[in-house]
């Protein structure tokens, strides 16, 4: 589904953060991305989201080479990818419901056409009682789940999550992980960037992508 070939990236005149990455993200796959802080996990996720252009190398996404795609077509490809940030990035003036519905609104859908779906998903992630509150009122774990729900609402083909368990206790981390696994069973490829070794140990069949010193090692 996604293919990287000899991808390199440097910020400004700095050192290469990523060097000669060559790998695939197959459809319906489940992988953890790990590595020390500053190794470039967030950077790699931004490359996968087509939000950042590589300094060199080729990225093919959904069978299209991204350097050949006109800029104004990129949003259409991004809509097939969901992304969850380390810092959630919820909009403070919108309720949980409105934040989660945002991707659908952006796609020009009518509110009446998606309301039931959004409410159902919110129940599923355990936010059924929190639909009408603003993010300022939510706890860290609730924000995390709202951010995840927003990434899932349009049934993406690929889900990217940056430290999705960084702000929650181990039981909640396990609940979120089972959410991702459930999603994966329904057909979405998942990439989870994390430092959390115990989290990774819970999913034996997952691929491990380990970033260190700009190189990527993959253990299937």
């Amino acid at each position: 589904m996604i293919h990287f070939e000899n991808v390199g990236l440097r910020y400004g005149m700095g050192p290469e953060i990523l060097r000669d990455l060559t790998f695939d993200i197959p459809r319906r796959s489940f992988q953890f991305l790990t590595g020390p802080s500053g190794a470039g996990k967030t950077t790699l996720l931004r490359l996968l989201f087509l939000s950042l252009q590589p300094t060199r190398g080729i990225i093919r996404t959904f069978d299209r080479e991204i350097s050949t795609i006109p800029r104004d077509e990129l949003p259409m490809l991004r809509r097939r990818i969901g992304i969850v940030f380390q810092d959630f990035r919820l909009l403070d003036h919108l309720t949980t419901y409105e934040n989660v519905a945002l991707p659908l609104r952006v796609r020009g859908k009518e509110e009446s056409s998606y309301r039931a779906d959004v409410l159902e998903l919110l129940k599923w992630v355990g936010l059924g009682e929190r639909i009408n509150v603003l993010p300022a009122v939510l706890s860290g774990g609730e924000k995390q789940r709202a951010a995840i729900a927003r990434a899932l609402i349009d049934r993406p083909e690929l889900l990217l999550a940056d430290e999705p368990t960084g702000n929650v206790d181990p039981p909640m981390a396990r609940r979120l992980l089972s959410l991702f696994l459930e999603l994966n069973r329904l057909g979405t490829a998942v990439v989870i960037a994390t430092h959390d070794l115990s989290l990774m140990d819970q999913v034996d069949e997952a691929r491990r992508m380990i970033l260190s010193q700009g190189r990527l090692d993959i253990y299937d």
């Binding site: 990035r89 919820l90 909009l91 309720t95 991707p103 009408n132």
Partner: protein, 335 residues
């Protein structure tokens, strides 16, 4: 933040009872995030100035046109006194001669009393016109559509009465036309300046609104929004602001003209009003004037909205470029 727990407690209950009611969807860019008041004021002032300029040009043009048609409806024949001339006879001859030309309608000799009245402001009252070598006038009304042949008339007049002089007011009409044109030209210049100042103000305001709402632009990017969608979210606010501002400004301008024309109508023939009339013409703008003000309002609203849209599209494009280019070290603070 202080009332947060309270809000939670209030929200939780109805949520359960009403089985998931949601509030009407809030705008993606909150109105309070776009500092609109200053911009609205600027747009109101600009709209006021634009409508005033438009009205003034309109008025001058109307006045000039009415003068022009009055003036060109008549010609005057002036006869200078001469010892060898029987003035009364010459006046009659001249009038009759003028009326033989096709295109003339009527000829009036300005009699002694009327001539004396014409001269009164300069020479004072109780004037004996017979004692002075005062030129006398014949006023001939003409058909504007097919005016007589003035050149032929001049030749014929010169033959009959050598001291007669035909004035077809051509110079005055030409000057009036030139004046009306100049006024329209200056007015257009002022309008162009006002509109450019307004466009620039809106560009700055839009850029300000975008940089103040950068986090929203980022979130929209990450949920797959296209530039056009983001632009329309911002543009909504600018349409509202500019509509309010330009309606207020245009309304004030219309009110100004209405009050001025009311004042002029009431105080007709007082010296102040006569002076104002001489200077500005009549303030009444007619339906076209008010329609013009309405059109100006619409033009301003459309212009600001388009400017805002264009600016947002450009800025978002810039943000996209900076965000996607790792070699740019002026990275977004957010990233």
């Amino acid at each position: 933040m202080t009332d947060a727990p309270q809000e939670t407690a209030q929200d939780a209950q109805p949520a359960r009872r009403l089985e998931m009611r949601v509030r009407p969807t809030a705008p993606i860019v909150p109105p309070s995030n776009v500092s609109g008041n200053a911009l609205m004021l600027v747009i109101a002032i600009m709209a006021f100035l634009a409508c005033l300029t438009f009205g003034a040009v309109n008025m001058v043009r109307a006045t000039a046109a009415s003068w022009q048609s009055q003036i060109s409806r008549e010609v005057t024949i002036q006869i200078k006194p001469d010892d060898a001339l029987d003035m009364e006879q010459a006046l009659k001859d001249v009038r009759d001669l003028a009326l033989t030309f096709s295109g003339t309608r009527d000829g009036t000799i300005v009699d002694k009393a009327a001539t004396a009245r014409l001269l009164e402001p300069w020479l004072g009252e109780g004037l004996n016109i017979d004692e002075l070598p005062v030129p006398r006038l014949v006023i001939v009304t003409i058909n504007e559509q097919s005016p007589p042949d003035f050149a032929a008339m001049r030749v014929a007049l010169a033959e009959k009465v050598p001291t007669a002089f035909l004035d077809d007011h051509r110079t005055w009409v030409d000057r009036l036309v030139a004046m009306a044109r100049t006024t329209a030209f200056i007015g257009t210049g002022v309008l162009v300046l006002v509109f450019s100042a307004m466009v620039l103000t809106v560009v700055f305001a839009t850029r300000g609104a975008l940089s103040g709402n950068r986090h929203i632009v980022e979130v929209l990017h990450f949920v797959g929004a296209e530039a056009g969608f983001v632009a329309s979210e911002f543009q909504k606010h600018f349409l509202k602001i500019s509509l309010k501002g330009s309606v207020a400004g245009g309304f004030l301008a219309a009110l100004f003209f209405a009050v001025a024309s009311f004042w002029q109508g009431r105080s007709i023939a007082t010296p102040q009003s006569d002076q104002a009339t001489a200077l500005f013409g009549t303030f009444s703008m007619g339906l076209t004037g008010y329609l013009g003000i309405a059109a100006t309002i619409v033009v301003i609203a459309v212009l600001t909205t388009l400017t805002a849209r264009f600016t947002v599209m450009r800025t978002i494009h810039e943000i996209d470029l900076i965000r996607s280019d790792p070699s740019r070290t002026d990275q977004l603070p957010d990233q």
